[in-house]
Assembly symmetry: C2
Amino acid sequence: MGDDTRERVKRVATEIGFRPNALAKGLLSNRSFTIGLLTNDTYGRFTLPVMAGITEALVDHGVSVFLCTIEDDPALGKVHVDAMLDKSVDGIIASGKRIDRRLPVDLSNLPVPVVYAFTEGTPGSVTFCADDFQGATLAVEWLMGLGRRRIAHITGPESFVSVRERAKAYLSLVGDQLPVLYGTWSEAWGHEAVAKIWNTSGPKPDAIFCGNDQIARAVVDALRERDVRVPRDVSVVGFDNWEIVAAQTRPPLTTVDMNLKALGREAGLTVLALTEGRAVEPGIRTLPCELVVRQSCGGNPDH
Amino acid sequence: MGDDTRERVKRVATEIGFRPNALAKGLLSNRSFTIGLLTNDTYGRFTLPVMAGITEALVDHGVSVFLCTIEDDPALGKVHVDAMLDKSVDGIIASGKRIDRRLPVDLSNLPVPVVYAFTEGTPGSVTFCADDFQGATLAVEWLMGLGRRRIAHITGPESFVSVRERAKAYLSLVGDQLPVLYGTWSEAWGHEAVAKIWNTSGPKPDAIFCGNDQIARAVVDALRERDVRVPRDVSVVGFDNWEIVAAQTRPPLTTVDMNLKALGREAGLTVLALTEGRAVEPGIRTLPCELVVRQSCGGNPDH
DNA sequence: CTGAAAGCGCTTACAG
DNA sequence: CTGAAAGCGCTTACAG
């Protein structure tokens, strides 16, 4: 084949928009350049940022991702996993809403690598999650740095590992001058907890570290309704940096961000590494959180 | 091949978990049994329910879906569309946040069928969206059925078609005794609008139809802060039935649901029909909304 | 260095 | 009715 023929072929190829068939390629290489993302987080509050990170990391490698939201029905879950395996996905990322619960599907003996994010993995697997202890430390230290001395903690159900981790960090910094208030992940609980504290005689907190943004939002609302000023009288910190809640609160919430996108990026690159046969250390990988400062704490001291 | 040999082969096949290779199948049939879902809705507020509907409709047909959230960067959008085409998707569903804006990618001359949902399609394409006029009619008629006579309308930016459609329905039922209050899709605007109305002398509304749930939530909050009781003094209706907002409002919002999951199901079946070469009528398909009754309107008359 | 052949895992059409 | 061959669109290994 002459050099100019070669040139002409190439030119015509791009002219007619020639696109190598990835299916045929995959048949040879035994790689489909697709992965599956499984989740039981129907709201997408965790999954969508994680997914954005995965996509961002993998698009450069030509990998596309199947998303599949499974309810709590194991049968349906199996159908979806099978559909992914039929498509010869190169790997699967299982994601959820909490690190101490499994998805309602068995992923233990799959012919492809599985990586876990925000859900409990099988022994010997790789699992990614946020560092709850470090995130909570960030929040409480921030409050202390602002000169707050009576810091309360209103949080979710004690049955969540992340709740216990955050409470542990809180207690290790603040001590047990005030009881940790465990409840539910709802605004209703935030209102109730504030009522509980303010209806009791004795000194009031000058800061409240909340287990998530929904509770924090309710706490801010409840305080306003009692004419307690935020942040002047009480500083409030949330957890999650869920924009839609944190940014709409009046005043907007200072809150802990779990860097879910970065977590997704890591998970994506890890499943890719496993696909390519590279060695990956198993275990739980904890990624650092960061504090997003808005207006619910006041003062912006050097940090 | 003898009958018993055939049986043995089949038995062994299931025993070793034989799984026909979909890639090889696709090479023959020219179908990959995958479709792509493109969206610019990073929150997933519209896309996730739509996606749930698509998945539900297509899983029975063995079709899996690639999800891809594209930002406003056309170059990145093209990369993602190309990645989907490389994977030989059987079709693409483009979805967005509003019916009068295009996604930042050109989908007009693709080798696969494209169906639009909640985003502007190319001429001659099939587009699915909710019936804003009918949904708004449902809301206002509900308020009128409860005996409300001074119904205000606080809504989003007039530049949105859906805002204009909803306002049109409102005006056609209520007349122009009160001006439509156009603003932004934020809680801040809900507060501002209530202040605007209540700081003006003259009779106050006994009901407020809001353009979305965020505005409705803020309206309810703002009324409470003015000691106006919801629903006793004023009934409030939202739009979207965004659980996380509607259910957490005090009292929980009666609101219009756009049936996004059903919309997704339709879109999925339609792209499948196009893939299989079945004829599909082009144009805009409008799906009916329904009213979800909670507590922000009071009374539960026969309906 | 160039070009033809073999083969990935299926299905379809054809010969026996 | 059964069984072998051809071919989908690629890549890899081999022969010239």
